[in-house]
Amino acid sequence: MGNKAEINPEKELNTEKELITGLGTTSGNMKKTEALLKVEDLSLSFTQYESGLRQTELKVISNLSIQAYKGEILAIVGSSGSGKSLLAHSILGILPSNAKLDGRIEYNGAELTQERKEEMRGKEIALIPQAITYLDPLMKISNQVIGCVEKKNEGLMKKLQREIFQRYTLKPEVERMFPHELSGGMTRRVLVSTAVISSSKLIIADEPTPGLDEKTLNETLSYFKDMADKGCAVILITHDIEAALKISHKIAVFYAGTVLEVANVEDFKNNGENLRHPYTRALWNALPQNKFQAIKGHQPMQDEVIDGCIFYERCSRKKALCAQGLPQLKQVNGGMVRCNNAS
């Protein structure tokens, strides 16, 4: 059903490709060996004050590693409110002042320092935010899509913006609207436009699909597929594993602040036999078209201190070893996994 929506814009895009982004690369002639974005051992914590001004430290992300390649879509899947968005904010360098970030982020072979993040964002790295609250409520849409540009480029950008709007079937009057006047589907397309107009090479989409009907969902997903086909690296942050499976090349499973498994999309076929981590398998089993079986228990709270594997409490195959230290992230069968049992 969604196929039509997926294919049509793609064809249109190919003809206009040079005109729009000038990226000129296709997934075919790319070197797949070098990751565009490399996140290694990233940890993020916040200093907070509780009632009575007692200072506490809240760890949100710990020892997280992922890699994003040009021409590929990497989905980061995890339940809502588990700190996935903060990963996006860490990469873009837009964390609040009480955040403490450790680890290493590399972009295009060089370390992504805060300075370099500030330089790159909006030009090389683009964020597609999750909700309408990320648009200035008092600014007309076209100004927001175009963003802050020099006077002499304004005409050019305006032209570009009109072309993008036309491609995404946004009517000309949308330009002059305020954010609150947009419908859900329009909002989605406007937010995607902001990334497309920037001609960035790394696109991070933060929860782009909630609350969309089947048709709009497929449409939105097709936009990301287009971007990847044109050579962008796309990171899709979502809690919707089904949506992620439709278009992604790789799926990173995010749990309690870290990635438990990075699986290729093919691993989810054949009843999920090739999946490496019990949690990923449980997620797969929870899907309605599979066993529709919810997993018992809940994710550990962010202020809980856990010695062993973070999945220990809920794991059906735990061993004594699992209670001692976080399992190392290891390469298994073309993917990554953080589990003592996987081999």
Binding site: G122, Y134, D136
Partner: protein, 330 residues
């Protein structure tokens, strides 16, 4: 179409509110004065020698022996006709006193309102944008100190510095003796306006600055500013593009909601600088038991505050595009 309906509803609601408010304010303040031991006849006579006959006449005129509810109805009836009675101090109709004095005060309040609004907004934006730096701290300290400063004391200090020490302005700032108010030149008039207006502005700035600062900090930590940063916007451009746009309306609204405090400040400032405005008249009326004038001033000051709130409501309901849309879609 629906917009017209909305305006009609708004006007109707506000008119109803104004009427009920005026009735209650009139009644409550009249009854309050009735309870007080003020003797209007004695207040009127003052030091004058009067005959017993004259005194009886005056008592009849002031209705000393009529029951309070009748007195109120008489008074309210007169007010409906536009007759606020005669001022005991000035010996002219209350409405004339108020007209002249309120005009003078409106000029004073208007100047300081504008000045403090603009300067306060700019300072607030600077402090908010530079949150945590020494600039922010300096502005914050200034605001805290001024918010805590007694109005009349600040007026006295300015008077000591600029009039006594520097001698730039006369100490009594009222109309020079022997010159009627009509003969005052523009320059004289302007000169006696400066210090009171300055005092009022300095005090008012604190409130609007702190508000603007807090609002800007709130805006700067919003999702849309986060996204703007993620798109490479930064520094002054970011503040100008998103901050001012989103802070201006609430700040203007707050300025209009501040009419009540502005009036209170004017009363004190006029007293120190002998500025012939409504505040000075109110104090004189209160101290010398000029009941008709005091009640007249109370009513007009309530009107003044009401219109400030009304303008704030209009901005809120009709100018902000978000509200406009919400109402239309409901």
């Amino acid at each position: 179409m629906s917009n017209n309906e909305k305006i009609a509803g708004f006007v109707g609601k506000k008119a109803l509110r104004l009427t009920s408010l005026l009735i209650v304010v009139c009644f409550a303040s009249f009854m309050l004065i009735q309870c007080s031991p003020i003797d209007p006849v004695r207040a009127y006579i003052g030091e004058m020698p009067v005959t017993a006959e004259h005194k009886a006449k005056l008592e009849a005129y002031w209705g000393v022996n009529t029951p309070p509810q009748d007195k109120f109805l008489n008074w309210a009836g007169d007010i409906l006709k536009g007759d606020f009675g005669t001022s005991l101090i000035f010996r002219i109709p209350v409405i004339d006193v108020i007209k002249e004095r309120f005009t003078a005060s409106l000029v004073l309040m208007g100047v300081s309102w504008l000045f403090s609004g603009i300067l306060g907004f700019v300072l607030g934006i600077i402090a908010g944008a530079k949150q945590g730096t020494w600039v922010d701290k300096a502005i914050k300290t200034y605001c805290y100190a001024l918010a805590a400063a007694p109005t009349f004391w600040l007026a006295l200090v300015l008077l000591m510095v600029f009039s006594v020490y520097l001698g730039w302005f006369p100490i009594g700032l009222s109309v020079p003796i022997g010159v009627t108010a009509d003969d005052v030149t523009f320059f004289d008039w302007f000169k006696r306006l400066i210090l009171p207006a300055l005092t009022l502005s300095l005090l008012d700035i604190a409130k609007i600055t702190m508000f603007t600062r807090e609002k800007l900090i709130e805006v700067l930590s919003s999702d849309y500013v986060l996204f703007a940063k993620a798109r490479g916007e930064k520094g002054l451009d970011l503040v100008l593009r998103h901050g001012i746009r989103n802070v201006a309306l609430p700040a203007i609204t707050l300025q209009f909601l501040g009419f009540s405090e502005l009036f209170g400040g004017t009363v004190l400032v006029e007293q120190v600088f002998s500025y012939p405005g409504i505040g000075q008249a109110a104090v004189a009326a209160g101290l010398r038991s000029d009941v008709p004038l005091l009640l007249g001033i109370v009513i007009f000051s309530a009107l003044f505050v009401f219109f400030g709130n009304l303008i704030a409501d209009i901005i809120y309901e009709f100018v902000d595009p978000r509200i406009k849309q919400q109402e239309a879609s409901v």
